[in-house]
């Protein structure tokens, strides 16, 4: 038996997106993304470079949000100038949020409505266009709903597979939208035309629940795989080492 909570299952699913990445910068935006990246580093991807969310690369894996664990060790300095250089060099996998995402992985964090006079102005395009054209990009959606998984995003910030294909091979040669993790399941684009596919649903979630909360048709094949549970070792790392304050569960509730 395994008493893993949903946020811990998500943390493992997030860690899994970094499997095989080797010695690159894992940029994880948000609490569970940070937890997942740190879990990957402490288990199967020890060479990942992680940061404090500001300008320092961390030589160890301190708990998110502080706590009694080890003090952070600074192993490197990566101010924004270096982040941009590094990301254009491709040695990075970013896990971003998305206010809207469509079936080809086009992502919107710019605004809702008309760009000239939006109904809702969001944070802005940030680095999404450059990220998606230069290195691996994944998305974390804490609340899976039809408001987020939409037929068509209002503004394309992060570039999806249909837009990348239209650019042609030389311009989009580094485009790679790897995965989408939500509170309901894990999704990828490993289909012939790169439409979003259900990779797995989390334990306790039905495919019907996923479908009814998604605003477009998802590709899936029966039987539906279930997202793997954390191993006892991973649960120990999450609860004692990485997230002793239980911040991950707060992000899921929000």
């Amino acid at each position: 038996m395994n008493d893993a909570r949903r946020d811990e299952i998500c943390a493992v699913a997030i860690a899994e997106i970094f499997r095989g990445d080797g010695e690159i910068l894992a940029s994880a935006m948000g609490t569970l993304p940070m937890i997942g990246a740190r879990l990957a580093k402490l288990s199967f991807e020890p060479d990942l470079l992680i940061t404090d969310g500001f300008a320092y690369a961390l030589g160890n894996v301190p708990a998110v949000g502080g706590g009694d664990g080890p003090e952070p060790i600074v192993e490197g300095w990566i101010p924004f100038r270096s982040v941009f250089d590094l990301l254009w060099s491709g040695r990075r996998h970013v896990l971003m949020g998305a206010t809207q995402i469509d079936r080809f992985g086009n992502q919107n964090i710019s605004c809702i409505g008309d760009y000239r006079k939006p109904t809702v102005q969001l944070i802005g395009t940030r680095g999404a266009p450059g990220n998606t054209l230069n290195h691996k990009t994944s998305y974390w959606i804490p609340v899976h709903s039809k408001k987020v998984f939409v037929e068509k995003v209002d503004v394309v910030c992060g570039v999806g597979y249909d837009r990348a294909a239209a650019l042609g091979q030389t311009s989009a040669c580094f485009h790679n939208v790897r995965r989408v993790v939500s509170n309901l399941g894990v999704f990828d684009f490993e289909t012939p035309d790169h439409r979003m596919r259900v990779r797995s649903v989390h334990p306790g979630v039905s495919i019907e629940e996923v479908i009814s909360n998604t605003g477009f048709e998802l590709v899936f094949s029966e039987p539906i795989a279930e997202t793997r549970l954390p191993t006892p070792g991973e649960l120990g790392l999450l609860r004692e080492r990485i997230d002793p304050l239980g911040l991950g569960s707060k992000e899921l509730r929000a």
Binding site: F54, F80, G124, G130, L133, V159, R163, L167, A172
Partner: protein, 284 residues
């Protein structure tokens, strides 16, 4: 050359319709005392270029902005800048929203006096659709890659805030990130640096290693001593962000009454009175 001046003198160089670049990042090490001086002036129709924070929000709220060129506008601990948001949702300002790296490239191109710099960032995204003035260019070499030709973002004036400077304009940052303050200065015709403290040149290396001397005096026209000048944004190691003040600033966007009260208390006063009121508030 002694380049010491005042915020008022610096702001006098900014005229209606000019393009002003503002250094820092989000709610971090922003030249807020210079922004406050700009708010007290009669200047209008500005084009702002920034990794935006409350600098952009305040100037939008004051109706001084015609256009903003930005990658994001955020208060960091409060992700969405409410005053900027309000201006956008009212359709009150023109918006050129770019990838953060495109913004850097535009400033760098201007700094190097190049018409553009090539990049992949922006290709395939709606940055190109909403900003049809942006063009692409094809590599003249065998690869033939099509790339965005990010045009130079030439600035009339740059405003940045550093930790220390000497009277000649050699300026030093002591925090973890320079952001793109050097590029803002190099991309501008007139460059003003406010700082926590103006020190003797020989004192600069006592505060930090030579790596921290990132603005040399060829990049600076005027130096303004402004203690706590980045308030309420952070300016490490001198001080952190005033989160409580920032929350009040953000909350003031909720109604015109709240904004009126905030403006009267903190913006329609001199910098000295502003700083006094901030101190009173903290001691309250």
């Amino acid at each position: 050359m002694d380049k010491r001046t005042t915020a008022e003198e610096a702001v006098r160089e900014i005229r209606d319709g000019m393009t002003v670049g503002i250094g820092g990042w989000g709610s971090r090490r922003k030249p807020m005392s210079l922004v406050r001086a700009l708010l007290r002036s009669s200047v209008k129709d500005l084009t702002l270029v920034a990794y935006g924070g409350p600098d952009v929000g305040l100037l939008c709220a004051a109706g001084k902005v015609k256009k903003v060129i930005y990658g994001f506008v955020s208060l960091d601990s409060i992700p969405l800048e409410p005053h900027f948001r309000k201006a956008r949702e009212a359709g009150a300002i023109e918006s050129v929203e770019l990838d953060e790296g495109m913004l850097q490239w535009g400033l760098y191109a201007a700094a190097l006096r190049l018409p553009f710099l090539p990049t992949r960032a922006g290709l395939g995204s709606d940055v190109m659709r909403f900003n049809p003035e942006l063009k692409t260019v094809r590599s003249p070499y065998a690869d033939g890659t099509e790339l965005v030709a990010m045009p130079a973002l030439a600035l009339d004036v740059a405003l940045v805030h550093m930790n220390r400077a000497d009277a000649g304009g050699n300026a030093q940052y002591l925090g973890p990130d320079l952001y793109f303050d050097d590029l803002f200065c190099m991309a501008a015709k007139k460059r003003f640096v406010s700082c926590e403290r103006i020190v003797e040149t020989e004192a600069l290396l006592k505060a930090g290693s030579f790596h921290t001397l990132r603005l040399n005096r060829t990049m600076v026209d005027g130096v303004i001593e402004a203690p706590n000048g980045a308030h309420f944004t952070e300016c490490p190691p001198d001080y952190g962000r005033d989160e409580s003040f920032q929350r009040d600033y953000a909350a003031a966007a909720k109604s015109s009454e709240a904004w009126g009260a905030f403006r009267e208390r903190y913006l329609e006063v001199s910098e000295a009175d502003y700083q006094r009121r901030v101190r009173e508030r903290t001691n309250r």
